[in-house]
């Protein structure tokens, strides 16, 4: 179906966002000798192997001990290092929430918590290895910056941007091959939303893998004569409220799209912003109070409605609710 659509962004290659992290980390290591890596027995999954090979003295295999990894990383900042920790998103957040809270966020430590296999699209491993609550947990922590880039290029750019960002940060990415549709040498400004497509009838705020689905949805809506604005919210926190309010002031309604629980995710952050400043209809595309399950990424996105078709439906609903 995508092939027949007049897409504003196209792709020639698919690649996983985690490879953007791995390649970004390697480049970060070359640029800054203070960058160190830690991994809890998932070097291959996190694509940290190239960094480990080039900088063995700056890489620490921690074993299956995520709590210790977070503490070690916090301690390493005290001598001026910039630690990047790597494991699956579930074990990066829920498993070590208290360690992150006390030793990293409350202590104001410059630790970058890097999390792969976030959301549903880990697929076949099922709910124990997926997580749909991580954005909520991390954004609730004071001092924590939360980033969820949309493709390989943006994940690489985000990784490099974090090296020069002082303070605790959570960087979320995924496993499946995904369209590379953003520029290779893009500027990544933490906290600055990226308006990807201009529109007038509805704003689609999307993050992570769902940004691509929003690009597809925009073309589908355009075929029906509906003008959608697509804004890439790669930084969930701090949220670019100015960009959100400016867009909704123009379009009058919005859709949020994310690979996360509806409770506590990007949509809730946008809802808070709107309700405090300019109440407007908002429809959520996300997972409704459910764990994931086994399946291919495509099957799961369809089953849980995290796709362009569902964004289109939500957009029409939001437009219909406009006063």
């Amino acid at each position: 179906m995508e092939k027949t659509l007049d897409l504003k962004y196209t792709y020639t290659e698919k690649k996983d966002t985690r490879s953007g992290f791995g390649d970004g980390l390697l480049e970060a290591g070359r640029q800054n000798p203070n960058v160190v890596g830690l991994c809890a027995d998932l070097i291959g999954s996190l694509k940290m192997g190239a960094f480990q090979k080039e900088f063995p003295e700056r890489f620490f295999q921690v074993g299956i001990a995520e709590a210790n990894m977070i503490g070690l990383a916090a301690g390493m900042t005290i001598g001026g290092k910039i630690p990047f920790t790597g494991t699956f998103a579930n074990f990066s957040t829920g498993r070590v929430y208290d360690q992150i809270r006390q030793s990293v966020a409350y202590s104001g430590k410059n630790v970058k918590i890097c999390a792969s296999h976030a959301g549903l699209t880990l697929g076949e491993d099922g709910a124990t290895h997926q997580i749909l609550e991580d954005l909520g947990m991390m954004k609730m922590l004071p001092h924590m910056t939360v980033i969820n880039p949309c493709d390989y290029n943006q994940t690489k750019a985000a990784t490099l941007a974090l090296v020069n960002h002082e303070g605790p940060a959570y960087l979320r990415f995924g496993r499946p091959s995904w369209p590379i549709f953003t520029p290779k040498d893009q500027e990544f400004v933490i906290g600055k939303a990226w308006k990807m497509i201009e529109g007038t009838d509805v704003t689609i705020f999307a993050t992570g893998h769902l940004v691509w689905e929003a690009v597809v949805a925009e073309a589908m809506l355009r075929e029906e004569g509906i003008s959608a604005e697509v804004i890439n919210i790669h930084t969930i926190k701090p949220l670019d409220e100015e960009a959100i309010l400016a867009s909704v002031a123009k379009t009058g309604c919005a859709v949020s799209a994310e690979e996360h629980q509806i409770n506590g995710g990007l949509g809730d952050s946008i809802a808070q912003t709107l309700i405090r400043n300019n109440p407007a209809p908002l429809e959520y595309v996300g997972v409704l109070d459910s764990f994931g399950e086994s399946g291919t990424p495509t099957q799961l996105l369809e089953k849980y409605g995290l796709n362009a078709e569902n964004i289109v439906k939500a957009a029409k609903k939001a437009i219909a609710r406009k006063g």
């Binding site: 700056r58 709590a67 210790n68 503490g71 990383a73 301690g75 001598g79 409350y106 202590s107 104001g108």
Partner: protein, 283 residues
């Protein structure tokens, strides 16, 4: 490293105990028991053994570092930091009160000089100390990292993750201590959750273990620390098993978990202060 006599160090211990009791009494909240038990060890570190800079730098390059994992001993640490010049002694009177830098458990958010990591939720401190120790090696800094944990805290799994890691990476510039007083909030550790043979456990994890049988007697504490130091730099992390008595120095507080987390009344404070030599000025 300071040249203080045993007598001078003991005087400081008495004053620090008085500080702790006044702090906890002043706000009617805090944890006096373990603070009184660990006093000799803290005073030995901060007034004798450690090379440290009271013109505080968070990075701690070129100085020995100290990490407190069992953060409820905060009153003791604050008193020792103040008495060694990190901040004014009068500030101890703000302990646990609104708008204070002396939070109930140590925090960096309030910016108190000497504190490099928050602690209080147990089990996390050794991991942090190991990270700092590894970075000292990376930075070519030959100073040591000290950490203190509680014995009840050994029930936290993260401690053993850290223990395994330290031996695997041969982190031999760290001296971790366990305050082995045998008590925790709900009672004796052997009743709450028996630790069995801690020495054998740490040795099995690949650590050198030094025992200080009289942790409330300055001479054996200094001797034990000298032993521990002599074992650093030899490829293994070093643990001090420090036998102390909770509430040491005040007869009605000693040896019971009752004073883990309660404050003395006016009469109890007067009684306790009477038992502790008045050698230095109160805050």
């Amino acid at each position: 490293m300071e040249n203080k006599s045993i007598e001078q160090l003991n005087d400081i211990c008495s004053q620090v105990r008085r500080d702790c009791l006044r702090m906890v009494h002043g706000v009617q909240s805090g944890h006096p028991g373990a603070a009184l038990g660990l006093t000799e060890y803290f005073v030995a570190l901060f007034f004798k053994e450690m090379t440290h800079n009271n013109q505080f730098q968070m990075d701690g390059k070129g100085e020995d570092l100290f990490f407190l994992s069992n953060g409820h001993v905060s009153a003791l640490w604050y008193a020792v930091l103040a008495r060694s010049g990190y901040f004014g002694v009068e500030e101890l009177g703000t302990f646990r009160k609104i708008n204070t830098r002396l939070q109930g458990h140590p925090a960096t958010e309030e910016g108190l000089p000497g504190i490099r990591i928050a602690s209080g939720s147990l089990g996390q401190g050794l991991s942090v100390a190991l990270g700092a120790a590894q970075v000292k090696k990376l930075n070519g800094d030959d100073k040591l990292v000290y950490a203190v944990m509680g014995d009840g805290e050994q029930q936290e799994g993260q401690v053993w993750e850290a223990a395994m890691y330290a031996a695997h990476y041969k982190i031999d510039n760290v001296i971790a201590a366990i305050d082995y007083n045998g008590q925790q909030i709900d009672g004796p550790t052997e009743k709450v959750m028996d630790l069995k043979n801690l020495k054998a456990k740490w040795e099995a994890f690949g650590w050198e273990v030094v025992e200080i049988q009289k942790g409330n007697d300055m001479e054996p504490v200094l001797a034990g620390l000298a032993d521990a130091k002599s074992l650093t730099g030899k490829g293994k992390p070093v643990l001090v098993l420090l036998y102390t008595e909770m509430g040491y120095g005040v007869d009605f507080m000693v040896g019971t978990h009752k004073w883990h987390g309660i404050a003395p009344s006016n009469a109890e404070l007067a009684n306790a202060l009477g038992q502790l030599k008045e050698t230095l000025g109160d805050y």
